[in-house]
């Protein structure tokens, strides 16, 4: 089962150049490259890749069509299981999902499943192949979806295909959730990729009403009682930033990654012609090691700063996608591992001048098997910096749980829901980060699709 062809490398912007612009880092495969890469797939009888994809995309089948050169057929196969392939092909943590289980990865490099998925989505979009359109007749029954991130979009598009009259309510002025406000342009282009996928959802007949904060502008009860929505899907994500609660955290120029990224992505602060300001100073420290930390760091770099990522464990434990860490290093971002901040230092006017840290070492493994970092006494030191960005994770916004009777949340603020998204109140479903806490795009999308099926069953039985 030896495979002679090495994994086809993907063309990328030069690190020196891209460190100064916001254009997409990866160019993706062209037709020939994609077919060559597709030819590497062994078409396993019992493919290990499929169960490792949270939505179970029929990976060997779509790859076979790429290999045969029938990209529309490949797109149709992917569309059976995923409504956002151009997004997931770009941002899924493939190394722990599909590609992480590919048989070729045992001895060599796995098939570049994500890159192939992205290629298929971009190729059919560029060819202007019309999307499927609504498949069943409209039932006229109304369903409300709250939040327009991947969970909400996936649920809405499935329901629309089943014939429901779906309206998405979004708090911000633009749809997309984290895909719009969190993940930067250089990883997920907004106009050419995200807008295209959202437009495809709208083409199915889904209405999106922005500037509506459910729990403030309207309530779930008013939507159900006064506006005739028979079921509601809550997909409000996990948007509340966490801070460390260390001294100096409210100094000027300490930001949450959410603020920093929102200013830059949603409000386009990096562009001269937009009103919202952003400043980094000459040096930036980013605290954390996940995707959010990498995105904040690489954004700060592109705004012209020298950037250091401060993480309390080691490189092995970095939770970010491997590709992002690799890209960040290529672009010149410094990493300080086994380091944890203890205080943000300010100047006499209250602006950040440095970050006081302590060195860490990995202790004995805890119950979860992870070796937790412990501080080394007396090892404190200072990193001079003008800006500190906290990227420590997020939790769900309590607004909906607080304003909806009978809707339970757990101690971490996550809505209580079963496998299919049924909450503690009949007719109300939930999924994505709002239920799981911060997770991934594909898991959120999967949850949205399961909930769509459950909502359909619920409405049919009503």
């Amino acid at each position: 089962m030896a495979n002679k062809i090495p994994r086809v490398p993907v063309r990328e912007q030069d690190p020196q150049v891209r460190a100064r612009n916001f254009e997409e880092v990866s160019y993706g495969y062209n037709f020939e490259e994609a077919r060559l890469e597709a030819s590497r797939c062994l078409q396993c009888k019992n493919p290990r890749c499929i169960p490792a994809c949270p939505v179970g995309i029929k990976i060997p089948d779509f790859i076979a069509q790429v290999n045969a050169g029938d990209i529309s057929a490949a797109a149709a196969i992917i569309a059976e299981d995923s409504s956002l392939p151009a997004v997931c092909g770009r941002v899924c943590p493939q190394e722990t999902q599909c590609e992480g289980s590919c048989i070729l990865g045992v001895k060599g490099e796995p098939v570049a499943i994500g890159k192939l998925e992205r290629f298929v989505a971009d190729y059919v979009a560029a060819a202007g192949t019309p999307s499927e359109g609504a498949v069943s007749r409209p039932s006229g029954r109304k369903v409300a979806v709250i939040g327009s991130g991947p969970a909400g979009l996936a649920c809405a598009s499935d329901l629309a295909k089943m014939g429901y009259d779906v309206t998405i309510f979004e708090a911000l002025h633009k749809p997309g959730g984290v895909l719009e406000y969190g993940i930067p342009e250089f990883r997920l282009p907004k106009e050419s990729v995200l807008k295209r996928e959202i437009d495809a959802v709208c083409a199915l007949g889904v209405k999106i009403e922005t500037d509506v904060i459910v729990g403030r502008t309207v309530s779930i009860d008013s939507l159900m009682e006064d506006e005739g929505f028979e079921a509601v899907f809550v997909a409000t994500g996990a948007g509340l930033p966490r801070f460390m609660n260390i001294p100096g955290e409210n100094l000027n120029n300490v930001f949450s990654a959410n603020e920093f990224l929102t200013r830059n992505n949603l409000m386009k602060a990096y562009r001269e012609d937009y009103g919202t300001p952003i400043h980094t100073g000459k040096s930036v420290c980013v605290v954390g090691g996940g995707n959010v930390a990498m995105d904040a760091a690489r954004t700060a770099l592109r705004l012209g700063a020298d950037v250091t990522v401060v993480y309390r464990r080691t490189e092995v434990e970095l939770p970010a996608r491997r590709e992002e860490v690799h890209h960040a290093k290529e672009e010149g971002i410094q990493f300080r591992m086994l380091t944890n901040p203890v205080e943000v230092l300010g100047d006499e006017k209250g602006w950040v001048r440095g970050l006081r840290c302590i060195r860490m070492e990995l202790g004995e493994p805890d119950e979860s098997g992870r070796r937790s970092p412990v501080p080394i006494p007396g090892s404190e030191f200072e990193i001079p910096t003008e800006t500190v960005i906290m990227a420590l994770g997020t939790s769900p916004n309590p607004l909906i749980a607080n304003t909806t009777k009978g809707l339970e949340a757990n101690r971490r603020g996550c809505l209580v829901a079963d496998e299919d998204g049924r909450t503690t109140r009949p007719g109300i479903f939930a999924g994505g980060d709002a239920v799981t806490g911060a997770a991934t795009v594909i898991l959120a999308m999967g949850a949205g699709r399961k909930a769509a099926a459950a909502i359909d069953a619920y409405l049919k039985s009503k």
Binding site: T217, L240, T276
Partner: protein, 282 residues
């Protein structure tokens, strides 16, 4: 789109607009704010809801020229539309949740400064309509900068005006007027509410502390989303970090770290002045 059905300049730099926003008009309560965006490239600007009419489906905002974004708001005319208006945001004023029993014996004194005068109107109106005793002090630099005197006069028991230069009413600051009312003129109150510039709210709080009078203040911090997502609005209240947009905007004045709040408000000052400059040249 959110159409401006009425526009009026209250002073050369303060503008009142009535805007179509039916969902917000229906849900709004005194003390809440909204966020507007003039156009695709505009900032999200928080403004207090200065009146609302569920029947007409409109809300009133009063904007003072400060930087580029407020200039863009004021540049809009009757018939134009905002790109976005979102709200109502934040918690309603504390009194909205109080029982009639409690409010029966309450006597409110509002301390209003500058553009912060307009947001006092819906609050005083709400209380006055329910028969609660309400007095209001309005302060401004000079006579021409006093706003909302007629409107507020019609929804309170006593209205006290003061100007820094003495061109109208009491000659001096709102804090001095409050002190005089309570210590010399025999007025007594159970609750104060201050809305205005941060510095004025800080000193109002100090005065109230001396008088033993509880005070709520409405914090106009920097904000981006207004929904709890970014933390730009963080303030230290009673030693804890709170988000003004979702935990406020009104807080017990005694607990607020005003010095930190003022410092944080200045974070984009240099940038903003540049912006405005650019726009004036244009």
């Amino acid at each position: 789109m959110y159409k401006i059905v009425k526009k009026e300049m209250l002073t050369p730099i303060i503008c009142r607009m009535e805007v179509e926003a039916p969902r917000i008009a229906k849900a709004a309560k005194p003390g809440q704010f909204l966020i507007v965006r003039t156009d695709e490239k505009g900032e999200r600007v928080p403004l207090t809801i200065s009146d609302y009419d569920a029947g007409k489906g409109t809300v009133v905002i009063v904007t003072q020229l400060i930087g580029a974004s407020s200039a863009a708001i004021i540049a809009l005319n009757e018939g134009d539309s905002f790109r976005d208006v979102v709200g109502p945001l934040g918690n309603p004023s504390a009194f909205v949740h109080k029982t009639e029993e409690v409010l029966k014996d309450a006597r409110y004194i509002f301390i209003a400064g500058g553009v912060g005068t307009a947001p006092v109107y819906p609050q005083a109106k709400w209380l006055h309509k329910r028969g609660v005793a309400v007095d209001v002090i309005i302060g401004a630099r000079t006579k021409d900068m006093l706003i909302y005197t007629k409107e507020i006069g019609s929804v309170c028991d006593h209205l006290f005006l003061c100007t820094d230069d003495g061109s109208e009413g009491f000659h001096g600051l709102v804090t001095a007027r409050l002190e005089k009312l309570v210590s010399e003129e025999g007025y007594s109150y159970t609750q104060a509410v201050a809305i205005g510039p941060m510095i004025m709210m800080k000193f109002s709080t100090l005065t109230c502390k001396e008088l033993g009078l509880p005070i709520d203040v409405s914090l106009n911090t920097l904000m981006v989303d207004g929904t709890g997502m970014c933390g730009a609005c963080r303030v230290t209240v009673a030693g804890k970090t709170r988000f003004a947009c979702v935990d406020g905007p009104e807080f017990n004045g005694y607990d607020v770290d005003f010095d930190e709040a003022m410092r944080r408000l200045g974070q984009y000052r240099s940038e903003e002045q540049k912006e405005l400059h650019k726009c004036r040249i244009r």
